[in-house]
Symmetry: C2
Subunit: 103 residues, 2 copies
């Protein structure tokens, strides 16, 4: 599995972020080819001190090639271009191959 994670610092307008994200951005993301599952949260907290991030999004792809193809697709480009419409605090996008286990 290959994961893509988007870390969102605090935006200027949290209410607008939450509303726009659910009603407009997520529907664009869900159209990306090869997207196997996704998760998000607007309730990010830190175990120590202030959280550096306001929201987080995770997406799962079969492998790095599938993620690259999804990002390069018209749907992926449209979703990426939409980020500036709500993420006024910026967005850090990381990705990685997963080592996992069941406890």
């Amino acid at each position: 599995m290959h994961k893509l994670v988007v870390l969102y610092p605090q935006p200027a307008d949290p209410d607008h972020f939450r509303d726009y994200y659910v009603t407009t951005h997520l529907p664009l993301v869900m159209r990306m080819p090869g997207l196997l599952a996704w998760r998000y949260s607007f309730d990010v907290a830190a175990t120590q001190g202030q959280t550096p991030y306001f929201a987080i999004f995770e997406a799962e792809f079969a492998d790095a090639e599938a993620m690259t193809a999804a990002r390069a697709s018209p749907q992926g480009r449209q979703a990426a271009a939409d980020v500036a419409n709500y993420a006024t605090g910026g967005a850090i996008v990381i990705h990685y191959p997963v080592q996992d286990g069941i406890a």
Copy 2:
């Protein structure tokens, strides 16, 4: 589901980090009560520019109460106390309730 995510900036000795993490730290983490699943990666990349994080760890719990109990357990305290033994670049620990979906 409630997730805990640890973001590790670049450590002073990446080889020591990787070796210690797999041979010593993960076995401690896996003993935490209520841990449903976990994932990690030492191959974190950014889609733009340099990645701010060297490694990432994700853990899943049934809910926030289960995560809190796991962190407060003797096993959780031992795992937390062990972080300083390899995470010389620090560690950002965030957690959140998950909204998810299948694409």
